[in-house]
Structure formats: structure tokens, C-alpha cells
């Protein structure tokens, strides 16, 4: 450095001006080095975890939000530069939420054109006969995330089957997975705790799912999208304000401020948890009604749907002492347990 410069140089290439602090490492780097580091790290994750094999048909879960847009962009770029030999598709779910999903779907349609990837849209209305708007009208704003999450999982699997996909990728990032690890500890869900930090899940189910962004910070995804001026839709779902996940999210934001690497440390802890074999874990079977994988007689989607169709919206919510498929409503475990029932209990 000659003389007194008020301008910092990128600490990686030392050629260009530093224009940002990298959230993960706090290095002061230029944009180009950031893009390179970002893309290369994801490439290394894909390779070292052997997420794909040549010729795989890969469905990218695309909501139009920043994670899935950046995922589609980066994956198609890496597919090209590193010649993965993958056939990529965009797969989108229309939950039927006016003023939210219809806008984000437009974004996905634009992505289809921008990235040159074929698009398939599956809707709750077609699959289940209900839109989220209709469901919320019936059950209100408590437990609506449970319905949406359960339905979405099946919807993605069905869409992927339609596309004859070998794998499904989603844009879940490090912040999401850290939140989920914490949530599962708080909720006492030991079964999910053992699975949620894996980069590939559902290998014994209809279609394996991968999360290439498992070690990627949400902040970096936002930064990438911002600098690259990628087209995405950035509003919170209008039905989500009461989600329990919000507690964990706030906490993680505070944590990130004190120690950025804590997010990855949570994931590391999740990977290192060893569950006692004497703990009772649910056994995997198939749903009697629709054949989907399920640990109970009926899969959760069928239970919820049954409840909706019979005007018993609380069926399948909370802990039940009654066999699924019977007429009685579930008991509540004290008033509090239903109110604080977690939404966003995304099955991985």
C-alpha cells in the first residue's frame, strides 16, 4: 500500500477495490472474488457430498424467492462450467395464496425464460381440492403452516414424479437448517433432530432431496442476488406471522451478530448428535389411503385433508390419543400446547 489510501483493496486478489464484508468470514473483498468464492464453495459441497451423478434429472424447488432463484441461477451456471451433465427443471408449488403466491409465481415464470429451464407448476387446488386461502378461512391463522408444509411436501414429490426427476433440490440455507436444529431441540422431536442436518434426506422415500445451500449463509445469498441483480420476489408469506420458528430466527439473528460462525456450529452440533438406540423412533410404512410414505396408518396429508373435508379442522393437530381416521377430535394437552404448536414443521 503506498501512501495513505482511504480505499481498501480486496484481500483475496489485491487488484480490485473491496466493496463488501463477506458475512461468513468478515473478509473485505471485491465483488468478483465474492462471486467466485460463493460459487466455488457450493461446487465443492456438491462434489464432496456426491449430490449428483451424470445424467440426473434434477427438479429445483422454485418458489420465486431469493433462495430458489439463486439456487437455479448458480446450479445452472455450475452445471455449465463444470459440466455436471444434469438435466435441470424448475418445479413450483401453487398453494393458492392470493397476493403472495400469484406474484411469486410470475417471478418463476420469468426465471424460466431468464435461465432457460423448463417449468412445471403443481397446485393444491388440483391435488387436494383446497387452496390455502380456503383453508385459512376455515381454520384461521393458527396451525395453517402445518397444513401448508405437509401438503407442499407431497406436492413437490408428485411434481418431481411427473417430471421423472431423480433428485429434488431445495434452497434451504444454513440459517434454515440451524433454525430447524434448534426448533427440534425445543420441541423434543428427536426423530427429526437426527435427520434434519443431513445434506441428502429421503433416500428411502419416493425421491431423494438435497440441500446444496446447507453451509451457505442467508446473508450471502441475499448479497449474491443483490449484486447480480437477480429477479426474485421478497415478501413474507401473508399467513405466517405466528410461526414458532420466529423465536428461533430472532435468536439466530442475534447470535450471528455476536459470532457469525455460530450458525455453522449449530449445524455441526446437529451432525454430531448421537441418539440413544433405546429411544423409540417411528417406523416407516405406507399410507393406507394414498400409498405415500408414512409412519402412521394414514399419512399426515390424508389426515389433514380428511379433517378439512369433514369440517373437523383440528384433526391431526396436536397430540392424539385416538387412532387416526376415527370420528373424535383430538384432545388438547392443556390449552397451551395447541396455541404454541409449531408451524413451519417442514418434513425433510
Amino acid at each position: 500500500m503506498e501512501g495513505k489510501r482511504s480505499v481498501r483493496m480486496c484481500c483475496l486478489c489485491n487488484e480490485r477495490r473491496a466493496s463488501l464484508n463477506r458475512p461468513k468470514t468478515l473478509e473485505q473483498i471485491c465483488r468478483e472474488c465474492f462471486y467466485l468464492a460463493f460459487e466455488d464453495e457450493i461446487h465443492q459441497i456438491i462434489v464432496s457430498n456426491r449430490l449428483f451423478i451424470r445424467g440426473d434429472r434434477v427438479a429445483i424447488g422454485a418458489s420465486g424467492g431469493k433462495d430458489s432463484t439463486v439456487l437455479a441461477y448458480v446450479l445452472s451456471k455450475l452445471n455449465r462450467i463444470h459440466d455436471y451433465g444434469l438435466h435441470l427443471f424448475l418445479l413450483s408449488v401453487d398453494e393458492g395464496i392470493t397476493g403472495y403466491r400469484d406474484d411469486s409465481l410470475e417471478t418463476v415464470h420469468r426465471n424460466q425464460i431468464q435461465y432457460g429451464l423448463p417449468l412445471k407448476v403443481v397446485s393444491y387446488k388440483d391435488l387436494y381440492g383446497w387452496t390455502m386461502d380456503e383453508i385459512v378461512k376455515l381454520i384461521g391463522l393458527k396451525n395453517n403452516c402445518t397444513f401448508c408444509g405437509v401438503f407442499r411436501r407431497q406436492a413437490l414429490d408428485r411434481g418431481a414424479a411427473f417430471l421423472k426427476a431423480d433428485k429434488l433440490v431445495t434452497g434451504h440455507n444454513a440459517d434454515d437448517i440451524a433454525e430447524t436444529v434448534l426448533l427440534n431441540i425445543l420441541r423434543g422431536d428427536i426423530a427429526r433432530l437426527s435427520r434434519c442436518s443431513s445434506i441428502i434426506t429421503g433416500e428411502d422415500g419416493p425421491i431423494p432431496r438435497c440441500k446444496p445451500f446447507k453451509y451457505t449463509y442467508e446473508k450471502e445469498i441475499v448479497m449474491y442476488a443483490y449484486f447480480k441483480k437477480l429477479d426474485y420476489f421478497s415478501t413474507e408469506c401473508i399467513y405466517s406471522p405466528n410461526a414458532y420458528r420466529g423465536f428461533a430466527r430472532e435468536f439466530i439473528k442475534d447470535l450471528e451478530r455476536i459470532r457469525p460462525r455460530a450458525i455453522l456450529d449449530i449445524i455441526k452440533s446437529g451432525e454430531n448428535f448421537r441418539i440413544s438406540t433405546t429411544t423409540k423412533m417411528p417406523e416407516q410404512g405406507t399410507c393406507e389411503r394414498c400409498g405415500y410414505i408414512s409412519s402412521q396408518k394414514w399419512c399426515k396429508a390424508c389426515v389433514l385433508l380428511d379433517g378439512l373435508n369433514r369440517g373437523l379442522p383440528k384433526l391431526g393437530i396436536g397430540r392424539s390419543r385416538v387412532a387416526i381416521g376415527c370420528k373424535e377430535e383430538n384432545e388438547s394437552h392443556g390449552g397451551k400446547s395447541i396455541e404454541s404448536k409449531q408451524c413451519g414443521s417442514l418434513d425433510f
Binding site: R259, D265, K336
Partner: protein, 459 residues
């Protein structure tokens, strides 16, 4: 040691009362708008006490509340064979509510045993001994000296009031960890702590040193058990903060009833009690506690404990869910009292202990430990020593520590690391060397019969 007393008596409806007579204490009528009197669900005779939060709030009367809390303590002690009649138990006392209650309950147990002893004709069952230790951390935490003097007075009063049987009280400054090495322990300690810049690292380093001090006092004065007052609330915070620091592998080691990694096993008899209950107990019985003023903390530990407090307020069973979930992780082989072979210990105690020890046979049998915090190392942290032959001992020390200590405590450059290493208390350094020597010795034993001559070029 002390529970951090989060979520204490919230409505503040409780007045301190002298419990000279067995009067049931009643909740003030203005909070009881629903019914004129809520009867205790256990004895159905007296009115409930309430307002302290927690899942049992408003269910028990004062007497049943007390016996319920003591019952949890006693169950933990007996099912884990924590205290046998021939033991000498050291209670780690910080002055906070949890360690106060732990001390009280240990005393109650001892008093009971003493009465039985006096009453029995043959005096066959001895009474276990109890000592109390207070670790003075004022050289590191900058506590005003008048506060410390007051605290010492109060503690002296408390311990002398808990007799008979008489209890030895030890006041020990934290720099005692250096006492066998040198006379400038305090300076070395301050220098050591100054190298640690991360606030969480400082707190955790102090915790490690505190345990070293406790172990030292215990072995010096012939105690064979250390009692910590850690309650559910404290353990729930630890579960989250260990998760957040990437210590998912070693987490189960710190949260069980028994931790026998150390030379003197550490037991947690209040592990099933909530901070809210403990605070209530102190109020009911007017147990004096002390709280030393320390600087506000910006560490991860304090962020986590505020988070857990928040969750507990939102749902009173949250802390127990957290601890129950973590309880489903596999504990380590050292999480039980080592089998008692001493013939002097009554057969009944030995049998009971054997029965309760059976469950952990699925745990792994051998672990490597971080020399700084003594947590078991996971696979990625275990070092292949064949690549590290000619390193400085300070670098060797660095490599043998867990990744969490490496990040938040140890300095990253070699020169500062060297300085840090020389400032470490000898016992920690010895721990690191012992581990390596033990490994070599174990290997050597296996091939001993094939070795030709002694004194090879070993380090």
C-alpha cells in the same frame, strides 16, 4: 454452580415469612379471583402457593411443595448412588439460590442420617461428611471488595447455622490453581485471562479454571464427591449454548446426574428442579442468598439464557422439554459413579448402584479429552500424532484442544500461544501430557514382550 435465577417469583405476591411454625402460607386473595381457595392437589388440606411460575405453579401447598422439591433431590441422590455413608461430600457454594438449596438439602439428608446414627444401638451405618467451598473469583471478575467481605460474613453465618453435624468451610481464591507451581499465581492468572479476547471464551475459561480449583480443594482435603447445584434451567441453557458452539458431540457429558471424568466425581442432585421452584423455596424458608455484582455480559452464554428465559415464560414446560430431548443423546461411560469395590460400603448401596449402572452399556468405552475444558473430542478433533513430531509444546497443546476452545479461547498466532501456554496452571498442562503418555503406554504394554531393550528414543 449457582443457577442464574432466571424467571424468579414473577408476580411478587410473596412475602418472606419466618417458618417457625408449620403454618401453611396462603396466596393473597387478590390474585385468586377464580375461586376463594385452591386446595393442594396432594394433601387436599391446605391452600396452594402460587405465583412463582413453572409447571407446578398453584398445585401444591407450602408443605407439599417443600416435600415435593426435596423428594426430587432425594430421588436423584438415591437412584444414582450419589452419596454413600462412607463418602465425604464437598458442596460447591456460590451463594446463589441453587447452591443454597443444594447445601440445605444435603444438610437435611446428613442431619437425618446423623439422627438415625445416634438412635441406632450398634451404630453400624456411618454418616457421610459434608464440606462447603466458595471459590473467590474477585481477582478476575473485579468484584468490589466490600461486597466480597459482606459475602464472606454471610456465608460463614449460613454454614455455621447448618450444624450439627458440623461442616468444614473452605474459602479459596481462584488463583489456587497455581498454588503448587509458583507464588505469583494471581499475576499469571490475570495475564492468562487477558490473552482471551472473546467474551464467551473468557467466561468458559473461567468455568474450566473453577472446576480445576474445585478438584484441587476436594483432593487436598480428602473429599470424594463434589456437589453442584445445577438445576434444569441451567442445564437447558447449557444444552442450547453447547449446541451453538458446535459441541454437539460432547454435550451429553455435561448434563447427566453424574460426571466422573474428573478425579473427584461431580454430581448434580438438583438436576430435576426448576429455577423457579428453587427461588420459591428460598423465599418460603427465607434462605439467605448472595449475588455479587459483575459487569454486564455480552457473551453467547448470556444471550442463550435470556432466550431460554423468554421461551420458558411463553411455555413453562419448555426447559424440561429441552433437557428431556438432550437426555435422549447417548451419555458417556463416565456418566455414572464408578463401581464401588470398597468393602466398607454397605452391600445395599453397592447393589443399588450396580442396578442403576446397567443402562449405559451402549456408550463408547474410550475417549480423548480436550486438556482445557475436558470435553470429549469428536472424530474430527482427534489428532494424528505421527505428523506432529517436532512441534513446540505450545503448538502441540493447541492441536490437542477441541475446536471450540481453539476458536474462542486460544490465541491464533504462535507467539501469543507460547505465552498463553507458559501461563497455564501446571495441572492443565500435565493433563495434556498425561493423555499422550497414556496412549503410548497403552500401546507399549501390548508389545512389551517383544521389545529388546529399555530406554529407546521415546519422548
Amino acid at each position: 454452580m449457582a443457577c442464574n435465577g432466571a424467571g424468579g417469583c414473577q408476580s411478587g405476591c410473596y412475602k418472606d415469612e419466618e417458618t417457625t411454625c408449620d403454618q401453611p402460607t396462603t396466596a393473597p386473595s387478590e390474585t385468586d379471583s377464580k375461586s376463594s381457595s385452591n386446595l393442594c392437589i396432594k394433601c387436599k388440606l391446605n391452600d396452594v402457593v402460587s405465583g412463582y411460575g413453572g409447571i407446578d405453579d398453584g398445585r401444591f401447598c407450602a408443605d407439599c411443595f417443600r416435600s415435593n422439591l426435596f423428594g426430587k433431590f432425594r430421588l436423584a441422590v438415591t437412584s444414582n448412588a450419589m452419596i454413600s455413608p462412607t463418602d465425604k461430600v464437598l458442596v460447591a457454594f456460590s451463594g446463589g439460590p441453587s447452591s443454597r438449596v443444594a447445601l440445605q438439602f444435603v444438610h437435611d439428608l446428613q442431619e437425618r442420617a446423623h439422627k438415625n446414627f445416634e438412635a441406632s444401638r450398634d451404630r453400624s451405618l456411618p454418616v457421610f461428611g459434608v464440606g462447603v467451598v466458595f471459590i473467590d473469583e474477585s481477582s478476575v471478575l473485579s468484584i468490589p471488595s466490600h461486597e466480597m467481605e459482606e459475602a464472606v460474613e454471610v456465608i460463614n453465618l449460613i454454614v455455621s447455622s447448618l450444624a450439627p453435624p458440623r461442616k468444614e468451610l473452605h474459602f479459596v481464591p481462584i488463583e489456587t490453581v497455581y498454588s503448587s507451581d509458583s507464588s505469583d499465581g494471581k499475576e499469571r492468572l490475570i495475564e492468562l485471562m487477558n490473552v482471551v479476547s472473546d467474551p464467551t471464551g473468557r467466561e468458559d475459561m473461567l468455568l474450566s479454571l473453577r472446576m480445576v480449583a474445585l478438584q484441587k480443594v476436594a483432593s487436598e482435603f480428602g473429599y470424594n464427591r463434589i456437589v453442584l447445584g445445577s438445576c434444569i434451567s441451567r442445564i437447558a441453557s447449557h444444552v442450547i449454548s453447547a449446541t451453538v458452539k458446535g459441541q454437539g458431540y460432547s454435550l451429553p457429558a455435561d448434563i447427566q446426574y453424574v460426571d466422573a471424568r474428573w478425579e473427584i466425581p461431580v454430581v448434580l442432585p438438583l438436576r430435576d428442579c426448576f429455577a423457579q421452584e428453587i427461588n420459591m423455596y428460598c423465599r418460603l424458608d427465607s434462605l439467605k442468598t448472595i449475588k455479587l455484582s459483575t459487569c454486564p455480559s455480552s457473551s453467547i452464554n448470556s444471550l442463550v439464557s435470556s432466550f431460554v428465559t423468554l421461551l420458558q415464560e411463553e411455555n413453562p414446560s419448555r426447559e424440561s422439554t429441552i433437557v428431556r430431548t438432550a437426555g435422549k443423546l447417548i451419555p458417556f461411560h463416565f456418566n455414572r459413579i464408578p463401581e464401588i469395590i470398597d468393602g466398607n460400603v454397605p452391600l445395599a448401596t453397592r447393589r443399588r448402584q450396580k442396578r442403576y449402572n446397567l443402562k449405559s452399556n451402549e456408550s463408547v468405552s474410550s475417549e480423548s479429552f480436550c486438556p482445557l475444558c475436558n470435553s470429549p473430542l469428536d472424530k474430527s478433533e482427534i489428532v494424528d500424532w505421527s505428523n506432529h513430531n517436532n512441534c513446540r509444546s505450545s503448538d502441540t497443546f493447541y492441536t490437542s484442544c477441541c475446536s471450540s476452545c481453539q476458536f474462542q479461547i486460544l490465541p491464533s498466532d504462535s507467539t501469543s500461544m507460547e505465552k498463553f501456554y507458559t501461563d497455564l496452571p501446571h495441572s492443565m498442562v500435565a493433563r495434556a501430557n498425561k493423555v499422550n503418555n497414556d496412549k503410548l503406554n497403552a500401546l507399549r504394554e501390548q508389545i512389551q514382550d517383544c521389545l529388546l531393550s529399555d530406554g529407546e528414543d521415546e519422548t
